[in-house]
Amino acid sequence: MDKKNSANEWKRHKIQTLWALFTNSYLAGFIQGKIYRGSLKNLCVPGLNCYSCPGAIGACPIGAIQAVIGSWNFKFVFYVAGFLMFAGAVMGRFVCGWLCPFGLIQDLLHKIPFPKKITTFRGDKLLRKLKYIVLVLFVILLPMFLVDILGQGAPYFCKFICPAGTLEGGIPMVLLNKSMHSAIGWLYAWKNLLLAVTIFLSIIIYRPFCKYICPLGAIYSVFNPVSVFRYRVDRDKCTHCRTCAKVCKMQVNPLENANDLECIRCGACKKSCPAKAIH
């Protein structure tokens, strides 16, 4: 990675860090082992940020979708879907690259040296479709139809899959709150196992959770091709050197599609382009 690109990456990490600190700025929660209960939690944050994190000051959009769909009186979620549609239509997956705390964690984990980092593998492209299945099945269909006698569905994605919830909410809350120690069971063990696998994979593969599992990334991705702010390749300036494709850690080739569903708008391609052909 050249110096220019490295500087851009650290600038991005600074913004990711500042945003993560801001959206998890309820410091009393970390001291008391409680969560913020103020009115700001009416609002969703754009990234994957568990609302049961002791510091969280906003609501996780994926958790909020499941909460509304799974409630007995609503079966469609206009508020959160509208929020995600607005954010996606304006900036596509920019949120994934710049404003998601769990994206930042994976970015930093991938900086840990490992003998053999994996950039791609057989079945990689097919496996990336999995996040759409996770979105439809665990975030929408199960909370909507697999309900209790009161007509309420559980947040199945949060309950069985989300490693962000375990890292940001589960581990700190259990550590800080003694009353929860006795409630730990197989589900907690399962979620910690998933978190451990995610952490290990993040060291050898760039952002595996974002690529293969994240339902929020799946939602934002469909807006990438049509968002107001998006990349454009100037074909007159482009020298077809493929530098942009080589630096992309999400394995997107901007020459083929500058607004690919997998592009997280990190800006590496734009910064690395020797001909300044990407705008």
Binding site: I35, Y36, R37, G38, K41, N42, C50, Y51, S52, A56, A59, C60, G63, A64, A67, V68, S71, F74, V77, F78, Y79, V80, A81, G82, F83, M85, F86, A87, G88, A89, V90, F94, A154, P155, C158, K159, C162, G165, T166, G169, G170, M173, M180, A183, I184, G185, L187, Y188, K191, F223, V226, V228, F229, R230, Y231, R232, R265, G267, K270, H279
Partner: protein, 49 residues
Amino acid sequence: MNRPPHTPRMGICLAVLGLLMIGFGISRGEMSVVLEKAINICLECIGIG
């Protein structure tokens, strides 16, 4: 990431539709469901419930 020369009509329409959906969702009380879920420790989310 600059604005392309052609007006991204689809993106603007979807953004406006998103805002309308936010307003409609708020008007029918979805925000209170989000708040109620978010201000209580979600035991399922943290792997306990």
